[in-house]
Symmetry: C2
Subunit: 368 residues, 2 copies
């Protein structure tokens, strides 16, 4: 197995640190727009199987060319979801299998954004499913932690725990804090704004996919292993687009444990138009307000040593158990930041994302 | 009387519309960094006494030169408080009297910003008081509505209503809304951030000036004429630096009726560092985050026709009345936006500010 890792940011670098301990692959070509960043991630694991290269992920041709040049068998996309489509099509054109951890972006319904979906997450990718089938290639989309591990939980619940499922409800929360900062998100604010301010999507068996206003259906979910109760709200997330295609159930939701403070911040950014990506004129220059917000906050990639607490990804399943009785089970995965920093040198949120494609690639390599 | 009006923004243009109805002056030279803006304000009043010119208010020499060139007797400063000092010293150097509506800016105490004042509002101006005295010239600082009318209320209360004053508490509030906008401040957001996030200053007879955390001592004040209760908090404002110099009392405060929503917005901007004026790097450009916030919001100068409601400036005085009994009186001035737009074509907040220097200049012209 010869892997092209596209993106040497937080998740990409964590992938290298986890994969280096395994023997299922021959090479990982670590590619980034910033060649130094690629080199740092490759050198950090000090293993000759890892080599660095520069790659412009916005060019499908450049991705296909890299696949051919390095005789790549599997492309792992670990960059910002804005670049899903060129990497996805570049992998196919180059002749490699493909994995990612976030799907192609949505756009809201032009007239009724808070009732109906427009272009849904992943729609652009699913539209090309036949081309992948014809080429006899695998595209394993959404195989991080959420989406990814959460979808595996859904399959497991349907196959082993439930006879009938009412709701597959992904619930994500943490009690992370960052020393020395009053406010410091542990994940890309750009992506968090995208996820949280897009109309949340819900699926119901008798209604299909529909959308709501942002931050709808607030609920306090009590997370395990000492994290405790966190306010969760509906957000747009891939699981809702993936699970109902393969798992029988009545309803699929995704709620993110943003907490009251973070919800307030996001609402304010939206109210002031600071979530916008279109550039505004500021004196002699033009900038995207959302990029300014990101520039004002500390880079989450560097926050690991100052973070404390645990992050939890999981799926809350309700329905009827195998014994015919009502059942409610939360299947989850918790990572303590102190542990992931000490053991791998990566903060818990990116570590928890990156472990899943390592497992998936190893299962593929072993033909399991 | 020959007036140099520096600044043809909202307040400057409203000054022209109010002054044009009076006959106490010979000329108003309307000066702005943007010559077209100066011309528009001068032409709007269609009176040959008003002429337009271009002026860089950041240059004291340019201000002095304009004073001499137009044989100016009185300079009225109607620009952003960042430019107070060059206009103030330029007027003196050129040989004119001077009026403004906001004083030179403060800087926080380097070590204990929320306990002690550093450089206070107006300190730089008061430091030059002797030079004005020696030149035999008048500098009438802070003669808008707040500071200005509020200070006149304090004098009136001391001279006519009270035998002993406990507190001189300026209270400013409104019920203004802007049609079509979820959030649209009716006054410069740049200045509002400056006022509200600087440490609020309070004066007490036995303690002198001291500062607190922003948004301290929240209080719901019930404003008159249908405005109703609004949440008010301490902010830094000139009255607290002016009143105790000339009016005997025990305590001086300024509370601004920001309302809960606006307080939340300002706290969030501060938490995210978006209130900062120092530039940050955003990709290839550098911008001040506070300028980006201002650029994302509608220009308050153009909101008049969409605004509804009333604004209230006033002074809440408590103490002992002339009859020896406890007394509590709110002296106030309310402007209805519908009226100011219909009568003058200017929104109520800038109209209420601009009327005061017109009155002051007329009193000076008549030698009252």
């Amino acid at each position: 197995m010869r892997i092209l890792l596209v993106g040497a940011g937080g998740v990409g670098a964590a992938f290298c640190s986890i994969a280096v301990r395994r023997d299922f692959f021959d090479t990982v070509v670590v590619a980034d727009y910033d060649q130094n960043r690629a080199r740092r991630a490759a050198e950090a694991v000090a293993d000759p199987r890892f080599v660095a290269t520069r790659l412009d992920a916005s060019s499908a041709d450049a991705v296909a060319e890299a696949v051919r040049a390095h005789r790549i068998t599997h492309v792992l996309n670990a960059v910002d979801p804005r670049f899903v489509m060129p990497i996805f099509t570049g992998a196919l054109d180059g002749g490699a299998d493909y994995l990612d951890m976030a799907m192609s972006l949505s756009s809201p319904h032009p007239d009724r954004p808070y009732e109906l979906p427009g272009v849904k997450l992943g729609d652009e990718q699913f539209a090309l499913a036949d081309r992948w089938r014809q080429a006899g290639r695998l595209a394993l989309v959404g195989i991080g932690v959420e989406p990814g591990l959460s979808d595996v939980f859904a399959r497991y619940a349907a196959d082993h725990l439930f006879s009938e499922i009412d709701e597959l409800g992904t619930r994500d929360g943490s009690n992370l804090t960052v020393d020395g900062y009053e406010f410091a998100p542990s994940f890309s604010i750009w992506t968090t704004i995208e996820e949280c301010l897009n109309p949340p999507v819900i699926w119901e068996a008798d209604r299909g996919w529909y959308t709501t206003e942002p931050f709808s259906e607030p609920e306090v979910f009590d997370f395990p292993e000492g994290i405790g109760p966190v306010e969760c709200v509906n957000v747009e997330h891939e699981e809702v687009l993936l699970m109902p295609r393969w798992v029988e159930c009545k309803r699929v939701t995704f709620k993110y444990g943003l907490g009251e403070e973070f919800i307030g911040v996001l609402k304010t950014l939206h109210k002031l138009g600071l979530d916008r990506t279109e550039k505004v004129k500021v004196g002699p220059v033009e900038v995207s307000p959302r990029d300014v917000v990101a520039a004002c906050l500390p880079d989450p990639a560097g926050l690991g040593p100052r973070m404390r607490g645990k992050t939890c990804a999981g799926l809350w399943v309700t329905g009827t158990g195998r014994d015919g009785n009502p059942r409610s089970t939360y299947l989850y995965h918790v990572v303590d930041n102190e542990w992931s920093m000490a053991e791998y040198g990566h903060q818990c949120v990116v570590w928890q994302t990156a472990i899943n494609p390592v497992v998936a690639l190893e299962l593929l390599a072993r033909g399991s």
